[in-house]
Symmetry: C2
Subunit: 219 residues, 2 copies
């Protein structure tokens, strides 16, 4: 759902997007590509294997469930002889939600580590940027739908890579002044550990269509 929402938005604002799947013949992927192709801004959608998608992209978006992210990215990288992720920005949107013990989910990686950090350690030649995991798919690509400015958080070790992601987020409707840079990739812990509050709020508000705004005192 996140991959389709972000993929479609990227096509809409003019990018060529290749959606990766374990199986290149994935029907959902093909349906998405047929729908996403040929927007007014000149973007287009296509599908391929994880490795084909990673090879194709200048920037790679990880919109898989957090607990399978490393396996998927290993496949995307092209296996041990690969290197499809080297030198690229890997934009990680995932959350390590573990539903195996029932609801509410726990986090499968937590406290002194995070999916964002694991990806960065596994692919040291990539520049991992964490952002967008703190809102639902619809808010990700249409923040103005909330009717009020809210905040997004970003972290990663490479400033230029964060800047590249912020540029894209601006085309989604996020204001750069509302995107708070939390520093290096260890900030992923904070962003992933926010999820239990997000889930609890979703249950309480009875909608996933919300976000938070940080209010700072004058002092």
């Amino acid at each position: 759902m996140v991959g389709r929402a972000v993929g479609s938005k990227l096509v809409e604002v003019g990018h060529e997007v290749r959606m990766g799947s374990r199986d290149a013949g994935n029907e959902q992927g093909a349906a998405w590509a047929a729908e996403a192709g040929g927007g007014d801004a000149g973007g287009g959608g296509s599908v391929g294997t994880f490795a084909e998608a990673a090879e194709f992209g200048e920037l790679v978006v990880n919109a898989t469930p957090g607990l399978v992210a490393l396996d998927v990215l290993e496949a995307a990288n092209g296996g041990s002889s690969g290197g499809n992720l080297a030198g690229k920005v890997v934009w990680d949107i995932s959350n390590p939600l573990d539903f195996s013990q029932g609801m509410p989910p726990t986090l499968g990686v937590v406290n002194d580590d995070s999916v964002g950090e694991r990806i960065q350690r596994a692919f040291p030649d990539a520049q991992v940027v964490k952002a967008l995991n703190t809102v639902n798919a619809q808010v990700m690509v249409d923040p103005a739908s909330l009717g009020e400015q809210t905040n997004l958080f970003i972290c990663g070790d490479d400033k230029a890579s964060k800047g590249r992601v912020i540029e894209i987020l601006e085309t989604f409707g996020w204001l750069s002044g509302d995107i708070i840079d939390l520093g290096d990739i260890t900030g992923s812990r904070a962003l992933e550990m926010y999820l239990p509050l997000w889930l609890r709020l979703m249950n309480t508000l009875e909608t996933p269509s919300f976000n938070i705004r940080v209010v700072r005192g004058e002092s």
Copy 2:
């Protein structure tokens, strides 16, 4: 710091507050009581042991570090033959921050448990309410200092006890409409796991004087 801030505010709005310490002769406690005593609203401050404070109060506030909270509350309850907490609201403001591995702290209880839940399990005859752990001491007792309405979260198994805490929070300046009830005490996980984001934001914003507001879409 949290205990003194909340204790002073409670005295200011007219309550009799007994601050508990391991040692009844605690100098900081005595200094606080001398300063807090005799407000215009008729409140007053005094000090005692943890057990004396818990016996004295109609409502007990736990403002100790989360990782020692159970030990302190066991002492407050009066040991194995005690029962000072039975039938009382225990308002837990604590966070299980573990600084033993350096900065940033990790959480000593996390993911599938929380300090709030541990207290409720240890003292089943008390009504545990979690609230205020998501803001710094000064914001706790003066939310208007942020210059804008923000949200507070509350959880606990007993609705009437949450209502009692909300009444007190209103005298601190919180608006009841801004206090979001996240349901039962397992919501403590969400509130405690928010701390890593709070800490990261404090570093980024270079102030502990902030809070968040939840913005909900119209849909």
